[in-house]
Symmetry: C2
Subunit: 280 residues, 2 copies
């Protein structure tokens, strides 16, 4: 795959990583960020070839446009630029939730194919972006009913070129699954960090640090993700609360066998996760 | 600090790490494990100099005895060997809970000083032990009322020699704090892993993996820890459930400001944890 002109909308951790990872096969990379100084810095460090003055200017003439903005902005931006994009341009995004975005764009922008790389970091800003962020990682692609077939195969090739493993999945199933595999862990990490009294912070070790790592993520971005996937996240949270109640009941009753059984089931599930380097 | 004869009771991850970390200052290391083949293997790989045929034989003549057995076995083993240990011998342990152990031994074995290195791994077995496991890590030391002062200062020197940062703390406060900083994270990780349907395991990324890492720990060991710290862990779990209920209520009410505020407080707490390499 070769891209003559790539536009990256939103120059944060994901946008910075897309620009870096696409560099070997994108001749010219133009970017735009709501914060003009961010785009300028990204130009100065060579991640972008051009900092566009506005959203419409960024997408004009681009062969591929990747939206790396917060999930509550993506659909409106896709709709806003659709008529300006050149014929045959491919539009995609990296948003963590997909149903809202697919619903808002399906039937209106056939060249847009929603996607979601399951890759990121609790760090923020393009300066933390990495060319290998997508290497070996899953990227979900969630076409709508009206998505062009050619656009679908091109978006799969785009992520594949970055070393990702592409999984085509229904947006609704994506959101239900990710509520459990991504959004609930974030909520749980945040809640766990939130209940630690400040005076005991220094009494933590690697266990607490790892279990709460996600809590360092950007509250604003994650508030938008939680809102967008509210119903599925509430269902996931109910499962989690139910499981914690199982532990509480077993502890209260001093039911050693049941505690052991719950921990054993947790271990089986955790040990059953595929190693991240050996997927696909 | 120089030790002529060190006895390590229980040759698992912790016992194997104590033996490795003490090697530079312990002339002769004898070990004992309930599973005789474990002690033999540890001898063959050079971690131990001698595999004792029994618990009493292991401690006889030792200058320092470290109990690295499950928390529900330590107190009885300390009491069983106290009369056999040579005068002036120091006895300590690595158990994750301290109040039960201090209560059972205080006033009966003044040479025993309970301790707890906040270091470990979800891995099991002495072959995963590391000489640097305690390097830069906190070790809690929880003396009882009758603990000999000389024994207290020697146990601090012992862990200090291994590169650890020693924190002397009341056993009761230790257990209350660790319920939140260690035992609750383990329970939460296990519960989170436990609610993931098997068919979605392959849809996880680093976030789910990190948040649930602790769930891979040994169910039997952790059942004993949970039982031993039952009351404090139930209190910690109640705080966690309350925080999850805050999230649930905010999501249900679509209260964006409240969701953002909860995530912001979680981020402040997580970002406020001391870096593991810069403690003390």
């Amino acid at each position: 795959m070769k891209i003559d002109r790539l536009a990256v909308i939103g120059i944060g951790l994901l946008g910075g990583s897309v620009a870096r990872a696409a560099r070997p096969f994108a001749r010219y990379i133009v970017g735009w960020d709501q914060a003009a100084d961010v785009g300028l810095s990204a130009c100065q460090t060579g991640i972008l070839d051009e900092n566009a003055p506005g959203l419409l200017e960024a997408v004009r003439g681009a062969d591929v446009v990747v939206f790396c903005t917060p999930v509550d902005r993506i659909a409106e931006q896709v709709l806003a630029v659709a008529s300006v994009c050149k014929p045959g341009a491919l539009l995609t995004d990296v948003g963590s939730t997909k149903l809202d975005i697919v619903r808002a764009t399906d039937g209106r922008v056939p060249a847009f194919v929603a996607s979601h790389p399951l890759a990121g970091s609790e760090k923020m800003g393009f300066e933390h972006g990495r060319a290998d962020l997508f290497d070996g990682r899953l990227v979900f692609v969630t076409p709508g009913r009206s998505t062009e077939r050619g656009a679908l195969s091109r978006v799969c090739a785009f992520w594949g070129e970055m070393g990702a493993l592409v999984e085509v999945i229904e947006a609704e199933e994506h959101d239900r699954a990710l509520a459990l595999t991504s959004h609930l862990p974030h909520l749980v990490a945040s809640a766990l960090a939130g209940v630690l009294p400040a005076e005991w912070r220094r009494l933590t070790g690697t266990g607490f640090q790892d279990t709460t790592r996600l809590a360092s993520g950007c509250p604003k971005l994650w508030t938008a993700i939680f809102r967008s996937n509210r119903v599925a996240l509430l269902a996931a949270l109910e499962r989690m609360s139910g499981q914690l109640e199982e532990f509480r009941a077993a502890l209260s009753a001093e039911d050693t066998d049941r505690i052991n059984e719950l921990l054993r089931l947790g271990k089986i599930a955790r040990d059953g996760l595929p190693p991240l380097s050996a997927r696909g």
